[in-house]
């Protein structure tokens, strides 16, 4: 295997039911307490109901975004960290050394994806490691292996793009040019309709 230049995630929004097996697999692997989500599943939904006689017509749309850290090619979190606790490995992984973290939470402001998570109990920030130990040992990250819908994959970012085509952004994620996320997404059929509609993340309390 040639050296990986940039690890990345693939997410198939069309195949994701929102079952959160990825989220819980991550919690088990990393012993994350309730309230700390390294991988999150955002439920995007909206659309209106219109009465038609005694029946209903609807324009309801819904899909999920399962997202961890996108191990961005331009990690603004690392740039914002005053103690250089967040670094980018040669293989692209963005890793946080909690021994250097001072809990200032600048990274939280910097990351437009909500990937860094503050733990009030320890006063420190934590984040997805891409299951670096597993990946270094040739195994998949816990979330990828967990998906019952086979909606997640991982690999070299360029390879993922070649394999899946896809896009780096679906609504309502920020535009890619901010941080250049190492994320390839196959859109759900409703993603295109969501852009201009009254659509929002509707499960904020869960993420």
């Amino acid at each position: 295997m040639t050296a990986v230049k940039q690890w990345g995630f693939f997410f198939d929004a069309a195949a994701c039911s929102g079952c959160k097996a990825c989220q819980v697999a991550c919690k088990d692997r990393h012993d994350l307490k309730a309230g700390i989500h390294w991988r999150r599943v955002y439920e995007v939904g909206g659309g209106v109901w219109t009465p038609k006689g005694k029946a209903w017509e609807h324009g309801v749309l819904a899909y999920n975004i399962s997202m961890a850290c996108n191990h961005c090619r331009n990690p603004l979190c690392a740039d914002s960290c005053p103690t250089k606790a967040i670094t980018k490995r040669p293989d692209g992984l963005v890793l946080l050394d909690t021994t250097l973290c001072i809990g200032c939470r600048y990274c939280e402001w910097a990351c437009p994806y909500g990937a860094t998570r503050f733990d009030a109990a320890t006063g420190l920030v934590t984040k997805c490691t891409f299951c670096v130990d597993a990946v270094d040992a040739g195994e998949p990250p816990a979330c990828v292996a967990a998906c019952p819908g086979r909606a997640l994959d991982f690999g070299d970012f360029d390879d993922l793009k070649k394999k899946y085509g896809g896009t780096g952004r679906i609504f309502p994620l920020p535009e890619e040019d901010q941080t250049e996320p190492a994320l390839v997404i196959r859109p759900h059929r409703d993603c295109a309709r969501a852009e201009g509609a009254a659509v929002d993340v509707i499960n904020w309390e869960e993420v």
């Binding site: 039911s17 929102g18 307490k33 909206g46 029946a55 939280e108 402001w109 909500g114 086979r150 309390e205």
Partner: protein, 802 residues
């Protein structure tokens, strides 16, 4: 710049309040409260990786009667489970896919090491249901079990003893069957038949096909071009591990999928091309209107109907039923003057008539096609009708007995009915009387004299009421039975059920009513074995991987202890340990379904976990009947598909048990006078945070899928309800208060409360957790005597903050 949302948690997050909800139980446990808690906090302190004492074991996910049977890789270090991974077998093809667990299996450590696990036997000291207990020894416990069993048998006879329905623990040596074996050796106990899961579909399917084996193997969906997912939500209820995956593969091969459901379910989002919301309880109306379109537009398979079906029209009515109303008569309104057109169905179903007609045309012409019936819509007032109506659509479109088609109905897996579930031998019950599982409260209140009119089988009349209940892995006594407040009142009267023993892992709402609580270890702490649920040709070993903590014991060990005190210990165990019975069970599977099944020793040596048989040539139900209905008749009275059932006709109850499937307005309905007070239909759907009521109170699951009332914005607005507000949901049977989620993903006029949450009444009797059975009814369906727990009308209002 495109519109986007700031995902930074600091700007968005409000403090999660789940911790208040899942706090420790308020039950006073004398003598046990000061005990050291067995709880491994989920923190980085848990050592993971590297140690020489660490080992990984492949094991079946503890079986609680979800629809999945999955493989876990459990890492144990120093006697503690430190990590749970999923199936890692390298092959993941559609014929033999990995058995990937859902969040419930992945979060199992939170159950295994939950501080509220039962640790010691407990004896009631307060009033029944008050939840006050004292710690007792196992000797006292087993003595009391034996003496109460003897006392009540001697006073009332064996019919007064009852081991109720319950699936909280559900594999060979774990679960209620261990107690059934005990009672059978003790002279027997009142039996039961059918279940709370699929009473109507299991009763009604054979009236059409003469059998329950109506399903092709799932891989055959790859040959389908059209799949109607009718009230079917495999992503949430897990209707067989990998059903979602196989459906995905079917779609990749070009099948169009349509989901019909009041909720835009997880399945509707990920597995369907289109979601059609339908008003609960009106599915048979839509099915009838589809048949009307097919008949009017000549889209039925007339040749197949002629050769393979009876009762479609006047010409094909069975002998002895000449002149009766045929299916076509009903659909066209020949007798009742009401043609069952899409116009007729539109105000009932809430679905535009054009949509109904379009779906009818699609299903009748895009062949072969599947009409898969979920079970929620048959847990309703006339749940038998929707089952038969769906089967009839499959039949009249000629989708029966062909690859890519689907006969509908309960759809046990061809060729042989699929998995066994339980092979642990319970022996013969000397008491032949059986009640329908849902009528146990009737048997408590007025058992003596109950007869066939109440669904009694095996005896003319019952001789006694139920006087002793031994509930093993069953929370169906209080929490999962309809009308919780009524059940609680029945149980509070200690002169009715004189002794209630509950054997479980946690102090469930049922256990709170117990006279004696017997603490059971988890399935990780004893031996077990499971096979596929409804589908799946696999056998999964569940070795004991950690020790039972505190004084917990296995169901089998407890029952063996009672048997010993009753004088037949040897007959109960036959000298076998739990592990010996698992070896016995493996042998049984090898002799019956899986000749290549490895020995227990090979399983252990190679850490196999699972043995699975690839499905490369999926079986098709009714294939032989399809080819030659004369040579291979169905086991129905006519030998054919019974669109018209003479057996039902002869029951002579046409209003509630018609001979052809009909839409019947439910006894609680948006169209009845009850809707003035209670205008909203409520459904209690399955939820990924629990398996029924098992796995309640696990923080990782509660934060992922919090207990909420789901309500449409159009119903929330006039009630001045904002997202997250606590709401009061009520009807004449009771009230619950819980937070709401306003979502467009549910039809207007319908609300949903995920079923299984534990009844937690406040001082005013109002449930604070959201147990849907506070609102559901104990009333049963006419033919199956099944539970109609989804037929609920309610009102919702904003609640005061509590």
């Amino acid at each position: 710049m495109k519109r986007h949302i700031d995902f930074a948690p600091m700007s968005r997050r409000s403090f999660l309040r789940w911790s208040a909800l899942v706090g420790s139980s308020a039950v006073a446990v004398k003598g046990a409260s000061a005990s050291k808690r067995l709880f491994v906090p989920a923190s980085a302190e848990i050592p993971v990786g590297g140690s020489s004492t660490e080992r990984m074991i492949r094991v079946g996910c503890p079986s609680h009667n979800c629809g999945g049977r999955c493989l876990l890789r459990v890492t144990v270090k120093d006697g503690v489970i430190v990590r749970i991974d999923g199936d890692d077998r390298p092959y993941d093809g559609v014929d033999d896919p990995q058995l990937r667990p859902c969040i419930r299996g992945r979060a199992y450590r939170r159950r295994q090491y939950h501080p509220d696990r039962l640790k010691y036997p407990l004896r009631r000291i307060g009033k029944r249901g008050e939840g006050k207990f004292e710690r007792v020894s196992w000797d006292e416990t087993l003595d009391l079990m034996a003496s109460e069993l003897r006392r009540i048998r001697d006073a009332y006879g064996n019919e007064a003893l009852y081991v109720p329905y319950g699936t909280g623990s559900y594999n060979q040596t774990n679960g209620r069957q261990t107690a059934q074996r005990l009672l059978n050796l003790f002279g027997g106990c009142l039996g039961f038949y059918n279940s709370y899961s699929w009473a109507c579909i299991s009763a009604a399917t054979p009236y059409v096909y003469g059998t329950s084996v109506t399903g092709n193997q799932r891989q055959d969906w790859l040959n389908s071009r059209y799949i109607l997912m009718w009230g079917w939500n495999p992503a949430e209820m897990r209707d067989g591990t990998n059903t979602e995956y196989i459906l995905r593969k079917a779609r990749e091969k070009g099948a169009r999928t349509v989901c019909i459901d009041p909720r835009m379910t997880l399945s509707a989002v990920s597995l369907a091309d289109e979601w059609i919301p339908i008003r609960p309880g009106t599915d048979a109306a839509m099915m009838s209107a589809m048949a009307h379109v097919m008949i009017e537009e000549n889209l039925v398979d007339a040749a197949f109907i002629k050769t393979h079906c009876v009762g479609f029209d006047a010409e094909t009515l069975p002998e002895g039923a000449e002149g009766a109303e045929s299916y076509k008569d009903y659909i066209l309104g020949t007798r009742d003057g009401v043609p069952k057109t899409p116009d007729w169905a539109e105000p009932l179903t809430g679905i535009p008539r054009a949509t109904i007609a379009r779906i009818a045309r699609e299903y009748a012409t895009i062949k072969p096609g599947v009409l898969y019936q979920g079970y929620g819509m048959q847990r309703r007032a006339y749940g038998e009708q929707v089952v038969r109506a769906g089967c009839v659509l499959a039949a009249i479109t000629g989708n029966v007995g062909i690859s890519g088609g689907w006969a509908s109905g309960i759809a046990l897996q061809a060729p042989d009915g699929g998995p066994f579930w339980l092979v642990f031998p319970t022996g013969r019950n000397p008491v032949r009387a059986m009640i329908p599982s849902y009528l146990w409260t009737e048997a408590v209140l007025r058992g003596k004299g109950m007869g066939p009119e109440d669904g009694l089988r095996g005896a003319e009349r019952l001789e006694t009421d139920i006087k002793l209940i031994y509930a093993v892995a069953s929370n169906a006594i209080v929490n999962q039975h309809g009308n919780v407040n009524r059940t609680a009142e029945i149980l509070k009267d200690e002169s009715r059920v004189e002794f209630l023993a509950v054997q479980d892992n946690f102090l469930t709402p049922t256990a709170r009513f117990a006279d004696l609580v017997l603490p059971v270890c988890t399935q990780f702490e004893t031996w077990g074995l499971e096979d596929g649920w409804k589908y799946g040709d696999e056998v999964i070993l569940m070795p004991r991987i950690v020790d039972p903590p505190f004084e917990t014991k296995s169901d089998y060990a407890i029952c063996a202890g009672i048997a010993e005190r009753l004088g037949f210990g040897e007959a109960y165990t036959e000298g076998r340990t739990e592990k010996d019975w698992i070896r016995w069970s493996l042998d049984y599977y090898r002799k019956t379904r899986f000749p290549g099944l490895p020995s227990l020793e090979e399983f252990e040596e190679k850490n196999l976990g699972v043995y699975s048989v690839p499905v490369t040539k999926p079986a098709v139900a009714f294939e032989a009947f399809r080819k030659d209905p004369v040579k291979h008749p169905l086991p129905t009275p006519s030998g054919k598909i019974e669109i018209f059932s003479k057996r039902l006709h002869d029951m002579n109850q046409p209003d509630e048990i018609p001979a052809v499937p009909k839409y019947i307005q439910e006894w609680e309905s948006p169209f009845g006078p009850e809707a003035e007070k209670y205008p909203l239909s409520a459904v209690g759907h399955h939820y990924l945070s629990r398996v029924h009521s098992t796995m309640e109170n696990l923080d990782w699951l509660e934060e992922a899928f919090p207990q909420r009332l789901f309500i449409n914005p159009l119903d929330a607005a006039p009630r001045k309800i904002s997202n997250g507000d606590p709401v009061r949901v009520y009807n004449d049977r009771g009230a619950v208060v819980l937070p709401c989620r306003i979502t467009p993903r549910i039809m207007p006029g319908v609300v949903a409360i995920p079923q299984g949450a534990w009844w937690t009444p406040g001082p005013d009797g109002v449930d604070r957790r959201g147990s849907v059975n506070v609102l559901s009814s104990e009333r049963w369906t006419p033919l199956a005597f099944g539970n109609a727990q989804h037929t609920i009308m309610v009102q919702v209002e904003k609640a005061e903050k509590t």
